[in-house]
């Protein structure tokens, strides 16, 4: 039973950065913008998040620094793709390269420094409940925040007028523009939200996961977040399932190896990705007609003046 609890706790921690980053990218893509720079925004968020926490001694301020850094970087992307109508794919890739370089530069000053990790919640009585207690009431705040975030995004996208308008921009920017909605401004806000989330997801790594900063520490998690958005077919509920599924397969394969189950480790390491592909195939088979991607995703919009 203790092992089960330990595994679930590890899965929660492993899935949280993916979920946060993917949530942001989901909103960005729902507005019709494809930002492939998640990895770059994440790593800069990690560097600034760690730097902020190290300088101020506050995890919260660190997280805010990470979010601010991610947002700033996403603004560069917004200016290029929305302001200058540059190709989104190319700009996103450039943003990742920029972010990786920039994070090394920012982080150079505090490589090798240590901070204390984000505290885990402790609610007397509740946290002590066997098994469920530590999972539901005993993780760090980011874990619960990420779930609140995705619920909030779901509510925003499907229950509010603003969310409807955002989705309209993603599906048909010409019509949205004709109706008088400021497509570019809405997209810019969506891109900034994506940047803030990626920054927060990046900051989660040094603040709660492995409390130090090393260049390249995101190790491809931004790309996985991007894949998760497609996996979830741009739907928030599926995103939660996808993120936890991915985290669970990642952790379980480690445990399977430790337990000496004789499956080649290379295959085990590929399992999370295989699971993603399989679910994608199943989803696309079950789908009733048409793609679920926002229709205007990745297309440049230049309003006529």
């Amino acid at each position: 039973m203790e092992l089960v609890e330990a595994i679930i706790l590890s899965v929660l921690a492993a899935s949280t950065p993916l979920l946060i980053a993917a949530t942001g990218e989901l909103v960005t893509e729902r507005s019709g913008v494809l930002n492939l720079g998640v990895e770059g925004m994440m790593i800069v968020g990690a560097a600034c998040g760690f730097g902020g926490a190290w300088l101020t001694g506050s995890i919260t301020l660190g997280a805010l620094c990470g979010m601010a850094a991610g947002t700033l970087l996403s603004l560069i992307f917004a200016m290029m793709t929305l302001g200058l109508a540059v190709n989104q794919v190319a700009t996103g890739l450039a943003l990742t390269i920029l972010g990786i370089g920039l994070s090394g530069l920012i982080g150079a000053g505090f490589v090798g420094e240590r901070i204390t990790t984000a505290p885990h919640l402790y609610i007397p009585g509740l946290t002590d409940i066997p098994l469920a207690g530590r999972i539901l009431f005993g993780e760090d705040a980011f874990v619960y925040l990420s779930l609140a975030l995705i619920v909030g995004v779901w509510w925003f996208l499907y229950q509010t007028r603003a969310g409807l308008i955002l989705r309209a921009c993603g599906d048909n920017h010409v019509s949205a523009h004709a109706l008088g909605y400021p497509v570019l401004r809405i997209r810019m806000l969506a891109v900034m939200f994506g940047g803030a989330c990626a920054g927060l997801a990046g900051a989660y790594l040094p603040l709660a996961y492995t409390p130090f900063f090393i260049p390249g520490m995101t190790a491809g998690r931004g790309w996985i977040a991007l894949a998760l958005v497609v996996f979830a077919s741009w739907k928030p509920a599926r995103l939660v399932v996808g993120a936890y599924l991915f985290g669970a397969v990642t952790i379980l394969q480690l445990h399977a190896q430790g337990a000496g189950i004789g499956i080649p480790s290379q295959f085990m390491s590929a399992l999370p990705y295989l699971a993603t592909v399989i679910v994608l195939v199943l989803l696309s088979r079950a789908r009733t007609g048409g793609s679920t991607a926002p229709a205007a995703l990745g297309t440049v919009f230049v309003p006529d003046r």
Partner: protein, 363 residues
């Protein structure tokens, strides 16, 4: 407005895209130029960092008689060839390429420029102007195995492997042979993460090993994440490549430290004297190709045992792969060097020794 913005964006991209650093300033014709190719960033706190420390030691040793240049974050493969060639064109006469995957690119460039000398780390291909160098880290692993067996209460060690290549496998085997010399029925759990560097995944692997009952963490990956997890949970661990005590003040037992400085200094000196020759160096504790970090977080008697073992290995009295070496299948491994396995057998090791209750991936 649009123009200034474009210019600003271009500058930013340029500033971030080029990950190269050039140290020391003035150019003089009589200075020896020495170049380095690094796999990771200099701040990785592991593999590349140790090479960078050695480069700094060179600068300290020779001062303005040499000029050093390094290129960091150079991916293994075709890009490496361009990077090496770039260093040649910039006038470097001695070039260190510090990762296994630079082997073929280095060889190609070496054939093209016979007047430049190359030093490739941890490979096996050589040419008249290309040497190789590496360290017998398995000697350190043997010591670690003994310490681990003494310190483990559970009798189970946790081992995080990167890739199942001979260097890592020989490390696991040396660890087990060392551990078995203390506790014959010691157990080991092995998790392969299939990466050299992913702090999150390394931490996850460490958690999984501890959750499954191991109480000592050993790693053959590069980040201090596993050390930190052990420290957090009040368990013990060994560092890798560099000093990690900062990340595990209550956890680190010792660490294998890559100390390239003596070798680099010797080679640069040879280059300056005109005595540089192609060589194949595989140094151990005796030639200080690596060192052991101070033995910490252990009782005096364990420390003494470790120091004695280290002294015996250094003196050549103790060979970790002394025959008989029993394979996993219970059969004795052929003894090609009389009383111990020969270098070829260690460099190409692709079997587990007896006592490892696991299957090697891909076997």
């Amino acid at each position: 407005m649009r123009k200034t913005f474009l210019a600003a964006a271009a500058t930013l991209l340029l500033a971030a895209g080029i990950g190269s650093g050039v140290s020391s300033g003035a150019l003089a014709a009589d200075k020896l130029k020495v170049g380095f190719i690094y796999l990771g960033p200099v701040g990785d706190l592991g593999w590349t960092y140790q090479h960078e420390l050695a480069r700094q030691a060179l600068v300290k040793e020779f001062g303005d008689k040499i000029e050093t240049t390094y290129l960091e974050n150079v991916p293994e493969g075709p890009d490496a060839e361009r990077a090496v060639e770039q260093l040649v064109r910039a006038g470097n006469k001695l070039i260190f390429t510090t990762s296994f995957g630079y082997m073929d690119p280095t060889l190609k460039v070496a054939k093209k420029y016979p007047n430049v000398h190359f030093e490739h780390c941890s490979g096996y291909k050589r040419d008249k102007n290309m040497s190789t160098y590496s360290a017998r880290w398995y000697q350190g692993r043997y010591i670690q195995g003994q310490i681990a067996a003494k310190m483990s209460k559970a009798g189970t060690l946790g081992y995080i492997g990167s890739f199942p290549i001979p260097e890592v496998v020989s490390g696991i085997n040396a660890t087990m042979i060392g551990a078995q010399s203390v506790t014959p029925n010691i157990k080991v759990k092995i998790i392969w993460v299939n990466t050299w560097f992913d702090p999150g995944k390394e931490a996850d692997a460490a958690k999984a090993l501890l959750d499954q009952g191991a109480d000592i963490i050993m790693q053959h990956t590069d980040s201090p994440a596993a050390m930190q997890i052990a420290n957090e949970r009040g368990k013990l661990a060994f560092g890798q490549d560099s000093e990690m005590i900062k990340f595990g003040p209550k956890a680190q037992l010792t660490s294998i430290l890559d100390t390239w400085a003596p070798y680099y200094i010797a080679r640069v000196k040879a280059e300056m004297d005109g005595t540089w020759k192609q060589e194949d160096t595989w140094g151990g504790l005796d030639s200080k190709m690596f060192e052991m970090a101070p033995y910490t977080n252990m009782p005096d008697e364990v420390k003494k045992m470790a120091e004695d073992t280290q002294a015996a290995i250094t003196a050549g009295k103790l060979l970790p792969f002394k025959c008989p070496v029993m394979g996993q299948d219970g059969k004795e491994v052929e003894c090609k060097a009389g009383d111990h396995l020969d270098d070829g057998q260690i460099l190409g090791m692709n079997f587990y020794v007896k006592g490892i209750d696991d299957k090697m991936p891909g076997k």
